[in-house]
Amino acid sequence: MTTQDIIKPENLVYAKPSIMNDNTMHYCPGCSHGVVHKLVAEVIEEMGIVDKTIGISPVGCAVFAYNYIDIDWQEAAHGRAPAMATAIKRLLPDHCVFTYQGDGDLAAIGTAETIHACNRGENIAIIFINNAIYGMTGGQMAPTTLEGMKTSTCPYGRDVTLNGYHLPIGNLVAQLEGTRYVTRQSVHTAAAVRKAKAAIKKAFENTLAPEKKGASFVEIVSTCNSGWKMSPKDANDWMVENMFKAYPIGDLKNI
């Protein structure tokens, strides 16, 4: 049996979700964003909630998330996505409202909006890409940058006497009464991707729960191979070795 005999529609077992359109993504080769975008699209498609899902894209690399998934979107000012999600969810209570944010957006400029949306127990999902660096602006230090890690604004490595410590904001929001589900996942292997997808699905399902139970927060520990100045494969290996120590994978809260 030849390859051509196998490649037939009836034998298809995996393809990108149909609501992920054919626009070429602007992300660098090997960027974790693409995988997470695909998971978000798969979950929305499988749940059949295209007509009642509103995504909020951040300022950062994922600013153009709205170009790739065919749902309604709003583009936030830097850090304000959780405030926006709050308003949309309250005005459209039967909708699935999610934010998609990076570490600079969520844990630096938008810390107040993140903490307060979580603390109010908003029935929203927050997808948080933590790659410990500012990607879009060219690889500057993020609040999540590891101690000693080099970036363009800490070229000799993050010095705690100068810049303080990496901010484990997932642990912070897990402490709040207003969150119901806080988990930390990754997308560097097929097995990890499957788990991350299940987490995103659970978060999205939580937003549609009939009673307001609280915010769902899915942190994806990710790579930024361009910003880290590594190949995609080496970036994955570096992440496993270094990032997972500071940001251990697994559920932080699930009630």
């Binding site: 049996m1 390859t3 005999d5 196998i6 490649i7 037939k8 034998n11 298809l12 077992v13 995996y14 393809a15 990108k16 979700p17 992920m20 054919d22 070429t24 993504m25 992300y27 660098c28 080769p29 090997g30 960027c31 974790s32 964003h33 693409g34 995988v35 695909k38 997308v187 560097h188 292997t189 097929a190 991707v193 499957r194 190949s231 995609p232 494969k233 994955n236």
Partner: protein, 76 residues
């Protein structure tokens, strides 16, 4: 006994040559093309098609959604 046989189809225009699918493939089916696509990337391709088991690991880790995976069961 039935044998599983898979095949991978790569959207070569969309592929950015990150090679994560090559790393993810447990059967060492995938490699990189010698040719480049319109954007100048060497794209992923099957270098050992007979070994493919259709597990879809390559597609699952692909950041650009360029991989479709097909699978058939062949009865002996």
């Amino acid at each position: 006994m039935a044998k599983i046989k898979g095949a991978v189809e790569v959207n070569t225009n969309r592929c950015k040559g990150c090679e994560l699918c090559v790393v993810a493939c447990p059967a060492k089916v995938l490699g990189m093309s010698k040719q480049v696509n319109a954007k100048g990337y060497n794209y992923a391709c099957m270098v050992n098609p007979d070994a493919c088991i259709g597990c879809a690991s390559c597609g699952i880790v692909c950041p650009d959604g360029c991989i479709s995976v097909y699978k058939v069961k062949i009865e002996n």
